[in-house]
């Protein structure tokens, strides 16, 4: 399989960080002491991408990558079940789909065998890694989106220091074409509150959100073999 790279950069170069990075540097360094920043974009030049690759494969202390990799491997079937959605009860009916990974890193050397692809062994997916550069030189180690603002408790079983929480939505049939902005704003906004309100600590987890299927004959399904709430 040959590798193809599609250039999706915008015509507006500043959106790609190509011309305003100088302004960003000056602006970031003009902040008061202790608050100075440099654009994160600067980290991802050719050399930076190469070093980043080393971090994920050789820096033992960088727990994020192996934690995630273990989850992907352990829960590959769970994830695929959710992705298959409506098709799970049909007899091995393969479905097509497009998998788009945001921030896949080093697309310049992309060889057509993306690391994440083996996670989805049984789906004839089209896999799009999107190499991106973005944002500022800081990182919030905590990001969370899955508490339940309605007072319901999240019932899931923690094993070791990882957890996979499938979140299967029950979207209303009235909005088959709505985007996730409405989805989050209306249907399940309560489920996307900040995780700081939940007593999770020291876990790395994957959240799989299924946006449901409202075509004829479709109805919310349970997902076999995995804990589910919603």
């Amino acid at each position: 399989m040959s590798a193809h790279i599609i250039d999706v950069r915008l015509d507006n170069k500043s959106s790609n960080g190509e011309i305003n990075v100088r302004d960003e540097i000056v602006k970031g360094l003009s902040h008061p002491a202790g608050q100075k920043t440099l654009p994160q974009l600067l980290l991802y030049d050719e050399e930076g991408l190469r070093i980043y690759d080393e971090i994920t494969t050789q820096a033992d202390e960088y727990y994020v990558f192996p934690a995630e990799e273990a989850l992907l491997k352990r829960h590959a079937n769970d994830i695929v079940h959710i992705m298959q959605g409506r098709h799970e009860n049909k007899d091995n009916d393969p479905i097509e789909g497009v998998v788009l990974e945001l921030g896949a890193g080093y697309v310049h050397q992309f060889q057509g065998t993306a690391q994440s692809a083996p996670v989805f062994p049984c789906l004839p997916f089209m896999y799009f890694p999107l190499g991106c550069v973005f944002l500022a030189l800081e990182l919030h180690a905590l990001s969370g989106w899955i508490s339940d603002g309605t007072g319901r408790q999240i019932k899931t079983t923690f094993t070791q220091s990882s957890v996979f929480i499938p979140f299967v939505t029950q979207t209303s049939d009235a909005s088959p074409s709505s985007h996730i902005k409405q989805f989050i704003a209306q249907d399940t906004a309560h489920s996307f509150c900040a995780l700081k309100d939940v007593a999770f600590t020291n876990v790395y987890y994957l959240l799989c959100v299924g946006l449901g299927e409202t075509r004829a004959g479709a109805h919310p399904r349970s997902t076999r073999g995995i804990t589910r709430w919603a």
Partner: protein, 184 residues
């Protein structure tokens, strides 16, 4: 897996990639229709050259002008891994999630990798490995910053200290400190 997964790289920022999706760039890119994209081949220096062999397919596969993601026939599955959402500031993160071109009711899914580690020492160690790889990664950013301003050696590495400092209150990780010389 051979023949079941076709792969194409997209080169650009999140903004560019998501615009590509929203304008129907993924149309007809299911396995059946998956021939070469409007492929640009990248030369080793990172510049873009249009592959001459793809010019005909280019015509055939260039998305129609209708900016309608709804024309994507198959479910779209977005992966946002590596706790990258944490790179956004509070508020921006939710805004970004909301901006994702996912369609309710079409079987689309979103797979998010999230980190809720709260062990400060563990976090700081994660970004300050013994082998010094992350240190090199961050210091390379200084070279890059200098280059952007016209002089690669502008931010001399020896004047900078590498730190990995996590602020649990703000949930922010900071790198780099500037070494001020004593006695000017």
């Amino acid at each position: 897996m051979q023949g079941k997964v076709n792969t194409r790289g997209l080169w650009g920022t999140f903004e560019g990639g998501l615009k590509f999706v929203e304008e129907g760039g993924l149309r007809g890119r299911g396995v059946v229709a998956a021939a070469a994209a409007r492929a640009h081949s990248l030369s080793s220096d990172g510049t873009t050259t249009l592959s001459s062999a793809s010019s005909e397919q280019d015509t055939a596969e260039t998305p129609l002008s209708t900016p309608d993601l709804g024309t994507l026939e198959t479910p779209l599955h977005l992966l946002f891994l590596g706790a990258s959402l944490g790179n956004f500031s509070p508020g921006e993160d939710l805004a970004f999630l909301r901006s994702l071109p996912l369609r309710a009711g079409r079987g689309d899914t979103l797979l998010l990798g999230l980190d809720h580690t709260s062990d400060t020492a563990k976090i700081e160690r994660a970004y300050d490995d013994r082998a010094g790889i992350t240190r090199r990664f961050i210091l390379n950013g200084l070279k890059s910053a200098g280059r952007a301003l016209g002089d690669e050696s502008l931010f001399a590495p020896e004047k900078w200290a590498y730190v990995s400092r996590y602020d649990a209150q703000e949930r922010k990780l900071a790198f780099l400190g500037y070494r001020f010389r004593k006695g000017g």
